[in-house]
């Protein structure tokens, strides 16, 4: 529906729109400025969006406001969340049921699904009604009442679509279904009926004949006869007249749901009964009682007599069904459109023009399914209705031929719109996932784009988001979620957490970055943080070279701590010779070798010592240029000390090895 932007003045300044956060359309307005309207833009739930109060850079006097237009307002109605959640379950059931059954049982299944959707709408309507009753604030009460009437209209349309499209009732049963439909939805007279029936003496009630008429107009013959019998006992003089009318009503042939009679049989019986009614009317049997005479006229399908009861029918579609009941009980689906059009014209009588709801129902009677969906999309303030109805009709294989010019079909288009609306909601986004899953053409792309935008407030939520992405092999999104979480953890100095996030995403580059942080911390503090993690890396150590080094280097420290010097020395050397350690770290490693070289017992063999020496020379050779410029005393001293220690170790080991071999 069109939306008025408060404070917008296109004459003075062009209206510009831009896509804002969470599927919103944002536009700058003069709303809230001096002279602008002070009231809040009521149809737009903009309370939580910070951009509402954001100043624009214009610097004009008074503050400019940004007006946020949300695409699917109803998503934000608390009571409707029940509708969204419960119908999600039904939707998923329908997708699962895909073509398991054929023929009649499939149809029964689809009708059941349709009924389930309707019962959810009804339950929601009841909740909303309760809320309206208990609301103290009149504005709120008004809102709830509006919602009740919208839900009620949705159910009315859905029910008609169920009869005409899903069940596709044939001539005969069609009329019975339409009668049920009218009885269920024309509730304006219910209170009157209750009042009369509960009164002490119904036949003396001033509205007595109105109630009898209501029953007759709705084809509730048994109830009408029951009521009439009360009047009959109170009026013994006109007993005969009652008996005749009662007999006519009792004998009225009705279509049956089973296959017990053919349409021709019914038409024959009906013709016969019709003639009988005609006879009694013409010989003036009811002339003394205008009420009964008018009932007899109604039974005969007299349009004027029926139209006289306009107030009791309240709507043109009630009139249509009553008219069909008494003049065309075997109406065929395709003939409906003619009766519907003329009923509406007769009922409205040029006094009032049809409203959107009338147009939608008319389109349904004309079997213009696409028109129904189109009108509903325009009129209703939510995508829920059209998305679910269209999906159901699609499962009934009624929309196959219709492709839209922009790629996907109508079912998918509407589901995408609905699911996008869900994703704009802070909490309902999870429901949207399954809808996207069942959009074969664009669902995946939509889901990817939306998942990236779900705010990750806690690890728990991130895990849920991650699970959704992983199940669908959305590798890009998995990486992105893990990276965001790893970055957050890093910023909070939670290196352990950061590392487990990058391990989950198999993000080698990030694991390297975190490993470097660990090593830097070690160099600064001389001890490792988060030992519980580093000691337990397991196979994930192989994710990045730096992580492998971190794990191995920590292992060296453990071996050293456990005084397993030979193993420690071997590992230390391998870290350099196998180029596991980054060059920048070699000096630290060589320094770590110092205490091993100084041990009483000889640990490095001659060969290992030569290798250590080569490592040292490689390192210093590479650094000579630099060293000239920055005469680093500490570094030079270190190198000197190492050279000395290595030379001494070599001397000791040559003596020892020589002695061992010589003996």
């Amino acid at each position: 529906p069109p939306q008025v932007v408060p404070g917008a003045d296109p004459a003075a300044r062009q209206l510009c729109f831009a896509w804002g956060p969470a599927e919103g359309l944002v536009c700058e307005t003069r709303f809230g400025r001096a002279g602008g309207s002070r009231s809040r833009p009521s149809p737009v739930p903009s309370r939580r969006d910070p951009s509402v109060d954001a100043d624009t850079a214009g610097g004009a006097p008074g503050s400019s406001r940004v007006f946020v237009v949300r695409r699917d307002q109803d998503i934000y109605i608390q009571t409707l969340r029940k509708l969204f959640n419960e119908s999600h379950g039904i939707f998923m059931g329908l997708q699962r049921s895909e073509d398991e059954l054929a023929g009649k049982s499939r149809k029964a299944q689809l009708v059941q699904v349709s009924k389930n959707y309707r019962s959810v709408i009804r339950a929601c309507m009841e909740d909303m009604h309760q809320a309206a009753v208990s609301a103290r604030d009149p504005a709120l009460q008004g809102q709830y009442s509006t919602q009740v009437s919208i839900l009620s209209a949705m159910e009315l349309i859905w029910n008609l679509c169920e009869i005409l499209f899903v069940e596709a009732a044939a001539a005969g049963p069609l009329l019975l279904r339409l009668l049920d439909w009218v009885r269920l939805h024309v509730c304006d007279v219910d209170s009157m009926v209750r009042e009369v029936l509960s009164s002490e003496n119904p036949s003396k009630h001033e509205l007595f004949w109105n109630v009898v008429d209501v029953f007759v107009l709705q084809g509730r013959m048994d109830e009408a006869r029951h009521l009439l019998s009360k009047e009959a006992t109170a009026n013994p003089t006109s007993m005969n007249m009652y008996k005749i009318l009662d007999d006519l009503m009792k004998k009225m042939p009705m279509p049956s749901l089973g296959n017990t009679q053919t349409l021709t049989e019914l038409e024959l019986k009906w013709q016969h009964w019709h003639e009988e009614c005609q006879r009694f009317l013409q010989d003036g049997t009811f002339a003394s009682n205008p009420h009964m005479e008018s009932i007899c006229k109604i039974l005969l399908g007299d349009e004027d007599a029926i139209l006289e009861k306009k107030e009791l029918m309240t709507t043109w579609y009630h009139f249509l069904v009553t008219r069909l009941l008494y003049s065309h009980p075997t109406v065929r689906p395709m003939e409906l459109r003619f009766y519907a059009q003329s009923s509406m014209d007769l009922f409205l009588g040029g006094e009032s023009s049809p409203e959107p709801l009338d147009m939608i129902l008319m389109a349904a009677f004309e079997f213009e399914m696409h028109q129904v969906i189109k009108e509903c999309s325009i009129v209703l303030s939510n995508w829920w209705f059209v998305a679910h109805l269209t999906d159901l009709l699609d499962h009934c294989k009624l929309l196959q031929s219709h492709n839209l010019y922009f790629g996907s079909n109508m079912r998918e288009f509407l589901l995408l719109e609905y699911a996008s609306g869900l994703f704009s909601h802070h909490s309902l986004w999870q429901l949207g996932v399954d809808y996207f899953d069942h959009c074969p053409e664009f669902g995946r792309v939509y889901l990817e784009l939306h998942m990236e935008r779900v705010p990750l407030s806690t690890e728990q939520k991130a895990l849920k988001v991650l699970r959704i992405c992983e199940q669908r092999q959305m590798h890009e999104q998995v990486r992105s979620v893990c990276k965001i979480m790893a970055m957050k953890a890093l910023r909070n100095n939670r290196l352990g957490s950061a590392l487990s996030w990058s391990i989950r995403a198999k993000d080698a580059a990030f694991a390297t970055l975190i490993s470097d942080r660990f090593l830097k911390d070690y160099c600064e503090r001389g001890c490792f943080s988060d030992l519980d993690l580093i000691d337990n890396l397991g196979p994930s150590m192989l994710l990045s070279d730096r992580l492998t080094f971190l794990g191995k280097y920590r292992e060296f420290h453990r071996l050293y701590g456990e005084k397993r010097f030979a193993e420690a020395a071997r590992l230390l050397l391998t870290l350099m010779t196998a180029h596991i350690a980054p060059c920048s770290f070699w000096m630290t490693l060589l320094t770590d070798a110092l205490p091993l070289l100084e041990q009483k017992e000889i640990i490095f063999s001659a060969e290992q010592t030569y290798e250590l020496m080569r490592c040292l020379e490689d390192l210093t050779a590479g650094n000579t240029d630099k060293q000239k410029f920055q005469e680093d005393d500490v570094e030079t001293t270190k190198v000197e000390m190492l050279r000395l220690a290595l030379a001494r170790n070599l001397a000791r080991v040559i003596v020892k090895e020589g002695t061992v071999e010589g003996s």
């Binding site: 999870q430 728990q460 957490s497 988060d530 993690l533 196979p539």
Partner: protein
Amino acid sequence: AMEDVSAKFVSQKISRTRWRPPPAATLQPPDIFATGSWDNEDNRISLWSAGDLGNVGLNGEYHGEPHLLCDIQHNGDVMDMQFLDQERIVVASSTGTVTIFRHHQNNQTLSANHRWEKAHHHVDQDTCCGGAACTGVVCNNPEIVTVGEDGRVNLFRADQKDAVRTIDNADSSTLHAVTFLRTTEILTVNSIGQLKIWDFRQQRNEPSQIFSLAGDRVPLHCVDRHPNQQHIVATGGQDGMLSIWDIRQGTMPVSLLNAHEAEMWEVHFHPSNPDHLFTCSEDGSLWHWDASTNVSEKPSFLHQGGKSTTYLSHSTMNQSVVSAWLSNDPTKDRMEITNLIPNQTLSVNSLDVLGPCLVYGTDAEAIYVNRQLFA
């Protein structure tokens, strides 16, 4: 059977459901439970009545849905929740705050009774987002232990303003859940597949024992201890696997049982009938593990005594239970496993069992009560 389950859509995603503990001397089945919500702009703690027992029909079937007694706004997602006693509930928030709420039964209201602001926090706790989610809470009145994303362990007493003990940086990864092992010892699970025992009698800020999963260090999300056999511990992991540990021996789980297809959010031994175990998961299923099927004589668990239900003493069953949970190869034919929710698609975040009653809550914004678990 499904007919015994009553459901209610509550228009908020439910992160926790907990039965209120019954008064000490009663055998009445539980009637009141609490729920907490998450991912809402306005999260709430709510107390529900499971329904009027007077509504139980002739055949003992139960009708009527849960109805709201009272609720109160809660700042942040409800991450975990435990009853401290009959009137007080301890709630862990994603903001890092731990709150005790009191239920005033005379006028059916809830109020915040005590609050430890940012009990869990990151290094810069003064910044606006300095709080770190408190992921788990466990109570043993008056003691309260909390763990969080900050790897911190806090020990509070309900009547003291400051923490009795805080172990900063207890874990370098996220602690996901905590439970009491004995009065002075707790068990924690973390996001690198470790189960740790902490002893508050020791002054060292290190765990007294570390157990861990072999291979890929799959994160553990929940932990529960066998109510009678304290050395038997069950944990649930990110891959949906159920692990049974015997903390007397080894450093690895005794058995790994393939269970759910996604994160296992909660695991609970039945408190009075511990050969029954319940788990729920992100994959939308809730499993009932029955290890009693192998017992020669299936214990009669419930006496149907008129309207109220009483339960048998469970002392006779312990022997068989031990062998069932700790056998090296508890294959599926020895364990009867039932999925209590077929066709559910969204996550079951929480469950609680007490007596014959089960309550669980989902991301599909519904709470379910089953009052005839063993019928």
